[in-house]
Amino acid sequence: MIKKRLVAAVAIATLAPLTLAACGGGGGSNGAGSNSSSSETVESLTVLDYYTDEPGKSNIDAQLQKCGTTVGVAKVDHQSVPGPTLIQKVLQQASSKTLPDVLMLDNPDIQQIAEAGALAPLGDFAINADGYAPGPVSAATYDGQLYGLQPGANTLAIFYHKDVLAKAGVQPPKTWAELKTAAKKLTSGKQYGFAFNATADYEGAWQFLPPMWTNGGDETDLKSPQVAEALQLWKDLVDDGSVSKSAVNWKQSDVNDQFIAGKAAMMLNGPWQIPSLQKAKVNFGVVPFPINKPDQTSIAPLGGEAWTVPETGNDAKKAKAAELVKCMNTDDNQMLRAKQGGLVPTKVALYEQYKTEVPSMAGFTDAVATARARTGKLGAKWPDTAKVIYTGMQLVLTGQAAPADAMAKAGAS
C-alpha cells in the first residue's frame, strides 16, 4: 500500500522538472511577445561573438564600449564563446528566447540564420551597405534584404619566403603552370614547395575556392570540367611531391606552422597569420592566387565576420542595437579594426588610405575588393555544397576518385 503511494508521489515529484523543461522550450517566457515603444531608454545591450583570444577580445571590447557610449547605452555586456560553438549557443538562446541584442556571425552563416527567421533586416533601421565592396554585401543579403554589416574582411593569397625563392631563382608564380614548376623546384630535403589545407571541413572547402573560382568553376555546377581542372591542380601538386600528403589533415594554422618552420616555401593562407610571421621574423611576400588561363582573373573567397541584430522582440533594444552595429562600421572604426585585426576595411572609399597607411596589406586590399561571398549564389544551401566540395577534394587527394567524377561521387547534384 505504502509502496504504491510512495511510487505515485515520486512520479509526481519527478514530473515537475520535466514540465518545467517542456515549458521553457515552447511558448515565450521572456521577450517574444513584449513590444516596447522606441522612446524607452535602453540601459544595456548584450553582444555575443567568438573573439575569445587576446588581444582580439580586448580590442573588440574597447570598440564596443566606446560605441555603447556613442549611441547612449550605459552598459554593453560582451560575451565571447569558442568559435566552433557559437552557432550552438545561438540556437540555445533562440529556443529559450534569450538571443543577444547584437550578434556577430561569420559571413557564410548569415543567410542560414536569416532564413530561419532569427535576424532583423537592417533596412528596418535605415541602414544600408552603400559603398561597401560587393562581397560583404552579397554575403549578408537574404531574399533582397540586408541582415548584417561587416566592418572588416580577409581572404586567401599565396605567401612565399622571399629569400628561399630568390636563392632558387624562382619568381612568385602568376599562373598554374608556374605554380607547379615553382613548387616542384622548391621541394628539396625537408622543404616542400607549397602547402595548403585540405581538411574534411568548411576550412578545406574554403581553401579550395581560389583554384575553383579562378578557373571559372561555380558552386552551382560542381561537375563541370572547370572544377575538375581545379581538382587536378591540387592532385598534381600532391602527386609530384610538391605538397605533403599531410595536407588532408592540416588546418590553416598547421599550414602556417609549416611555413614558419621552413618546411614549406610557399603557402595558401590569410592575413591573420601576419602577426605570427612578423613575430618569427619571416621575410615573406604575398601574391594573389595564380590564374590558369590568360583571360582569367584571380578570385578569392570572402572571409570575415559581420554584426547582426537578432529578432529579440524588443523594438527599443533592436533600434539601439542597430545603431551600435552602424557605429562599429564607421570609417574610423573600420580602419581601427582593420589595423588591429589584420583585416581589410569593407568600404571601398577607404582602400587608398588603407593601402598608404598599411603597405604590407596592399595585396590583400585589392583581393578583398574582388573577393566573392560563398553564400552569394547558394544562400542558405551553401553548407551542403561545401560538404560535397571537401568530400570530393579529399576523394581526389586520397586517390579514391579521379578529378572528373570525384564531385559526382561526393554527391554533387
Partner: protein, 319 residues
Amino acid sequence: MSDAEVLTATEPTAPSSDTAPARRSGRRGEEIAKILFVVPAALTIIALFGYPVVKNLVMSFQNYTLRTFINGKAPWVGLQNYVAVVTDEVFTKAVVNTAVFTIASIVGQFVIGMLLALFFHKNFPLHGVLRALFLLPWLLPLIVGSAAWRAILEQDSGILNVTLENLGIIDTPIPWLTSPDVALIAIILVNIWLGIPFNLTLLYSGLQDIPDELYEAGALDGATGWKAFWHITWPNLHAVVSITLMLGVIYTLKVIDIILGLTQGGPANATQTIATQSYQRSFVEFKFGQGAALSNILILISLVFAIVYLRATRRRVDE
C-alpha cells in the same frame, strides 16, 4: 577453495518473516527507508536524463531545423529521417567503422588495463604515485590531447614517424592520419590510450577488494601465478569486469571528440562512425532530426549490449 566459493557474490537474504504487529509497522517503516535510499538518485536521473531521452526520440520523427529553434515548429515526418540516414552512402562505412573501432578499442583498453592492474597489484616502492599518474591524461582537456596527438602522428615531422625511422623499423613515413586505410587504426590506438586509465583504475580497485586470505588459502593448495588468476582472481572480479566492459562499450560507442579532433571524420569519410555522423548531421548541417535518428540507432545498439549484461548479472546473482 570452499572459502572462495563462500566469499564470492552472495545473494541478498530476505528479511526474516515475523507476524507480530509491532514488527509489521517496523517493516513498513523499513520499506519506506529502503525506498528513500533510492529516491534522491531516481529524482536526479529522471530530472537530468528524462527530458533529453524523450526529446531525442521525438525529434528523430520530426523535421527539426534551424527554423524550429526560432518558431518552435517541427513538422512530423515519421520514419523519413531514419530512411534518409540509413540510405546515405556513408552509413554502411560508419556502421563498419563503429564496430571495428569499438571492438578493437575495448579489447585493447581492457587487456592493457587488466595487465597493468595486475602489475600494480603488488606492493613495490612508489606504486601508488605511479598508478595515480596514469590518470594524468584524463586531467588534460581533450582539445589539448588531440592537438598533441596530431603533432605526434604528423606524417612528415611527427615524432612517432621520426623515431620509427631512426630506429630503422620503417623506411617510409606511415601516413597515420592521412591515409584512409591507416587513419582508423590511428584513432583506435589513441582511443585505447585514452581508455587505459579508466580500465586500470576500475580493475585495480576490483583486485584490491579480493581478500588476501583467498590467495593464501589458494597458495596452500598449490594455486599460484596463472592458476591463482584463473581460479581466484577472475571469478571474484566478475562483477567489476562486467560493468567495466559494459560501460566501456557504451562510452566508446559515443566517442566523437577524439575522432573529430584528429581527423574530422576524414580523410574522405574513412573515420566516420555513427556517433560522428550524428554530431555532424545535427551541429554542422543543422539537420537535427537526422542527427537524433542516428543517435537513437546508437542507443538501440547499446541497449542490446545492456540487455545482455543484465541477463548475465541476474543469472549470476541468482546462482
